[in-house]
Structures are given as C-alpha cells and as structure tokens.
Amino acid sequence: MEKITVVDGVAVPLERAQVDTDQIIPAEFLKRVTKTGFDDALFFAWRQDPDFVLNDPAFASGTVLVAGPDFGTGSSREHAVWALRDYGFRAVISPRFGDIFRGNSGKQGLLAAQVTEDAVETMWRLIREKPGIPASVDLVSKTVTVGEFTAPFEIDDYTRWRLLEGLDDIALTLRDESSITRFENARQSWRPLTLPAQ
C-alpha cells in the first residue's frame, strides 16, 4: 500500500445524512469478481439526476468528499470503498461513519476523517460560496483545510500509523504467527470444525 501523508484537491459537498452503502454502490454492481473498475457505479442511482453534485462540472476532479453524519452505514460491501477510490476520491469527511465502512476504508487507503457536524456545515457553506475551492486533508497533523478554514479530525491511531507507513495488514499479523499457532494448540475440542473429523 502507498504511504499517505496529505490528500490535496477539490472538495465535493454531499449534503445528505445517512448515506448507506446501497446508495454508494447498488447491489447490481456487486456481481463482479474484480476489485477495480467501479467508478461508473459510484452513487449510480443518484447520478441519474442531472442536478446531483457529481454531475456538476465544478466538481469533476473531486478528491475529498464532504458528507453528512452516518456515512457508509448498512451493508459491509467493500465495493463502496473501491467505487469511491476508483472515481478519484482519496478522503471522505463526515461527522460519523458506519463502523464497517470505516474499517474497509482504512484497509484500502481511503482516508475516513471524522470531524464535528459544525465543521461539516461550515465546509458545505464555503464550498457552496466558491465551488472548486481547494481542500487538503493532512494525516500528519490530523487537520482538514477548506480554503482558509481548518478543523481537526479524528482517526484511530493504529489506522493512521498504518496509512502513514503504507503497511500491509496481513504481513503485520503474520509477524505474530507463532502466537496464533500457540493459541490454536490450546483451542478446546468442543469448538466448531466445519470439516468432518478425520
């Protein structure tokens, strides 16, 4: 995974709360067996509306999505993160994230930055006043900047460290393989096995 320190670019206001992952990417696109090529599927139903924010040329090169509270709730589909990433988003800002979505983002290098509701409202106002206003999300200082406005954001320390270092989760875990084996050797015999006993 690539190291992330700062995400720069155009901020896109998604002025909605409770955006579930079914809206981020509808189920019909989940039949694919690949991990890329989901850019057209992002917000597929909403993008049919010409007034939807992603259809506004001012936001064509958006990299930072600024959304209302409870972004990414519902289904566990990691496709939601893949679609945002394939479209070009590198960071999503929201006052609250669905737990699974937040975890998936961290695994795929999409920065999920949690800010206050007031900060989101302010950013929405600034973007409305000046569409295309530059934004930056700084993982080192844990701050979001839109135009002249700067706000701190929350992200858990472990995810932040992994993103800053560009570390692969599985390789990290396998450093503890001897502990895993030791744990397995002590596993009680009543615990489930899916294969018939040998």
């Binding site: 039949k31 409870d70 589909r77 989760d169 503890d176 615990r191």
Partner: protein, 501 residues
C-alpha cells in the same frame, strides 16, 4: 480491559479470543472460530491470497454457501444472468482450489449463510464468527461474538484466522415485560432502532437482555441480533441459556458426549456478571409494544402500525428533517397518512431476518384458508433448502400456494434483488427483510419493513395490516397464530439428517 468489576458477556467472549493484546493504542489480535463465506464478498479475497501465494490457514474453520445471487426458481437450470453465473462459478473454483467446504445451489444445506450456520450447529455460544456480510450479527443470538467484515478482512481471516480489532464498547438493551399476541421479535428490534437511531449503536456491541428477550425462541433472538447493524452496531448478543442449549443439542456440528458437557460448563460462565457495567443502557417496555412498521428509507424511520407518518418538522435534528423529507418524496407518501391506509403491490416473506421455520409457521398461520388480495404479488422464500423441506413436511407450501402466493427455493432473493427477484420502479412492498434503503429491492422500489405476521395480514388485505385487522376476528389473533414465545421446537428427525456434501 483492567476492570475492577465483573465483565459483560461480550467482554468475556472477547477476552477468551485475544491472541496478542494490543499495546499503546494498537488493536488486539482476535482469533476467529468460524468464518462463513458466500459468493459476493469473497472472490477478490481469494484473488489476494493467490497473488501473495498464501493458503487458507484453516479450511476446517471455514464454510461456504451460495445465497445472494442464486435464483429461487428453476434452480436445476443454468443461471441465466451471465455475471451472476460467473460469480457463483468463481466461488466453486475457489473453494475447490483452497479446500473449503461448499454447499452449492441444489444441496440440502444450501441457503442464506446466516440460516445455514445455526442450522448445522456450527454457530454456538462463546465463539467468534465473521462473514463478509453485515448481517453476521445474527449469530450473536447464541452468545457468540459475531460481526460483518469487508473483503480485505475476509482475506485477512482466510490467511491468518485472526483480525486486528479495537474492543467494542458495550450497550445493554433491556426489554422487560411480556409481548402481546401478535407482537414479535421483529417489532422489538424495529422499535429499538427507531429509539436509538441508525447510528446509535456505532462502536458498540449490543447485549439484548430482560424477560422479554429470555422468553424468545432462538429464531426470535436471531431476528433481533440480525438487525443490530441497522442500529449501527456491528454485533448484537443474547446470553446463552436452556433455550439456546435445547436448540443446539443434536445438530450435526454441535459438541457431543464429553465435549457437550465441557461446553455447557463453559457456556454457563458466559452471562454478564451482576456487577458488570455497560458503557450505555437502553430500556424498552415489552408490554407497550405493538406491531412496528417503517415509513421511510432507513430502518430507523418507523412507527407503530396503528400510527400515522410523522411530519418531518417533528424531528429536532435538521439532518433528520431533511432525511425525512427526502424519504417521503422517494416513498411517494405524505406526512399524516395512516400506515394502515397504505396499499402495497407486493409482499416479500423471507431474508436472513425472517425466513426460518418459525417465521414461515407464523406467516402460514395467518393466511391459512384465505386468498391473497387481488393485484398483490406475494413471494415466500425459505431461508435454506432444509427450512424449505421442513416447511413442506408440515404442509406450509400447500397453504402458501392455496393462498395464491409463490413458494420459492432458498436464498437472499428480494431482500436485495441481486437475483431476478426484484420490485419494478414505483412498486411498494411489505417486506420481512432488514433494509428499506432506496432501491434496495429493485430500482425505484419502495419498501416497508414488517414482521411475518404483519406481512401475512397485509397480503390478505392489500393494505398494511396486523392480524387483528382480519375480518371475523373482532380484534383477536387467529387461534393458529404463533406468538413470540409459543413456537414449537424444530423436529429432531430433519436436523440430524445428512450434513456434508
């Protein structure tokens, strides 16, 4: 977790699965006892293993089934949609290559992954269960720590049988009292979600407790834990008790002999200690509950069936007001409309929330001897091939067909419409599933979440209805109806038959 006081159920199960305790803000490395797989969220994970040259560490703790894409008609024919077919074939190839047990379409143990695990006796108290599906919370009904994961985590578990995780906070949802006839587990959980909101459970594991929960069957407890994610919580749990043990005993993968005794001894230590402290607590009075239904486009937008659609202005939060306005526009409904005046085009009886034998019995008890309302399409989809067989042995298929409804094969079906079972644009559906999101059951489709009893009465009348609304009952429940706690036990003969491919 250096707590001086006692521990909660969730903390006990967590502590017993910590492989490496995280230090300085690092997550704990948690061991996973059971990994359930299906076709939608696994192909990219298996690809990842192949690219890194990694095997599946514990195929003997992994099991797969086909459910999201599978057709519920003509299951012996080739799957018509080529993209769905490729995804199913990919799962079959991956399971073959990596040595994972698979129950494919046509197998007696095929079905919705969250119906299959419990029915095989693989889901049990005190274990950790994960699956690339947010409704994995279902398995918490047994006192397991069970939660949905993304595809990167699926790959992680396949490769290491562990996950790095930060401990959840704990929330007690206490439901005291006795449910009235006609009020079910589904109504409890819809009421809980309306109370705490779709984000209220974020970061928490919910423990459902109190006399109303204790009185529920395992099916009812599964319905409740299933929808924990709709309150934002990754996991929901119920402490194991005699109801749990009675359900498990004799199932193909349940512990036997000395293992059973050892398991029971351990399971009895799991319930939350009396002096344990939860990070948050919510109370609900079961005596006051009535059937609950949703009017909007998220599961928190619900009211009593006897109530009317609230005005968006009645919400304090501006974001919720905006959501309500959007929802009413999408649903083509007006504030103030009585829920019982809403006419539906379709009724869907199924999904991992409500497709087990007790759910089908409840539905059948209301429709028995009646005809469905004109112009309403009614689909009944059992949760697994085995549930379907069991229902047929009881004659439920005949009741469904004589009613004028469709009796289908097992799968996720119209809960999310990945197979051909979808609503047409603008169609309105009373659904026993878990999500009323925009377009969830088909592009432009409109969903009202309901219990199996409400689904059945709605199918009879054509408008959202409870069983009390049916003619000739004078406000009483039909005598055959199955209440929340009155379900018969699953037949021993069926559950011990067969098992592996």
């Amino acid at each position: 977790m250096a707590k001086a006081l006692g521990r909660t159920l969730a903390e006990k199960v967590w502590d017993d699965h910590v492989v490496v305790r995280g230090e300085d803000g690092a997550p704990d490395l948690l061991y996973i006892d059971l990994h359930l797989i299906h076709e939608v969220t696994s192909p990219q994970a298996f690809d990842g293993l192949r690219m890194a040259g990694r095997p599946v560490r514990r195929p003997d703790l992994t099991i797969a089934t086909e459910d999201h894409n599978t057709p519920t008609l003509n299951i012996t024919k080739q799957i018509a949609d080529p993209v769905s077919r490729i995804q199913i074939e990919t799962l079959r190839r991956n399971c073959e290559e990596f040595g994972v047990r698979l129950h494919p379409l046509g197998d007696v143990e095929q079905g919705i992954v969250h119906v299959v695990g419990p029915q095989l006796g693989l889901t049990m108290p005190g274990i950790t269960v994960v699956c690339g599906d947010s409704h994995t919370s279902t398995h918490g009904a047994f006192g397991a720590m069970a939660f949905g994961i993304g595809t990167s985590e699926v790959e992680h578990v396949l490769a290491t049988q562990t996950l790095p995780l930060t401990p959840f906070k704990t929330m007690a949802i206490t439901v005291e009292g006795e449910l009235r006839d006609g009020v079910t587990a589904k109504d409890i959980i819809l009421a809980v979600i309306a109370k705490i909101g779709t984000g209220g459970g974020q970061g928490y594991v919910l423990e459902y407790r109190g006399s109303a929960i204790r009185a529920l069957s395992m099916e009812g407890r599964m319905t409740i834990c299933n929808m924990s994610i709709e309150a934002g919580a990754r996991a929901g749990m119920v402490a194991p008790d005699q109801t749990t043990y009675d359900y498990l005993k004799g199932r193909p993968h349940a512990p036997k002999g000395a293992d059973w005794d050892a398991a029971i001894a351990y399971w009895n230590t799991l319930p939350t200690d009396e002096d344990a402290v939860f990070d948050a607590e919510v109370f609900l009075d079961a005596n006051e509950l009535e059937p609950f239904v949703t009017w909007g486009t998220n599961p928190g937008q619900g009211v009593l069936l006897s109530d009317a659609i609230p005005a968006p202005e009645s919400f304090d939060d501006p974001n919720e007001q905006a959501s309500a306005r959007r929802a009413l526009e999408y649903m083509d409904l007006a504030a103030g409309t009585r829920m019982k005046d809403i006419r539906v085009d379709a009724v869907f009886m199924g999904s991992c929330t409500n497709s087990r034998i007790e759910d089908l019995r409840a539905f059948a008890s209301v429709i028995k001897g009646k005809k469905k309302a004109d112009g309403v399409r009614v689909m009944v989809v059992p949760g697994s091939a085995r549930v379907r067989l069991e229902a047929e042995a009881e004659g439920i298929d005949k009741i469904v067909e004589e009613f004028g409804a469709e009796w289908r094969f097992a799968g996720c079906s119209m809960c999310l419409g990945m197979n051909p079972d979808q609503l047409a644009p603008g169609e309105r559906c009373a659904s026993t599933s878990n999500r009323n999101f925009e377009g969830r059951q088909g592009k432009g489709g409109r969903t009202h979440l309901v219990s199996p009893l409400v689904a059945a009465a709605t199918a009879v009348r054509g408008t959202l209805s409870g069983p009390w609304d049916l003619e000739g009952l004078d406000g009483r429940m039909p005598e055959t109806a199955v209440g929340a706690g009155a379900a018969a036990q699953v037949g021993n003969d069926l559950r011990t038959q067969g098992g592996t491919r």
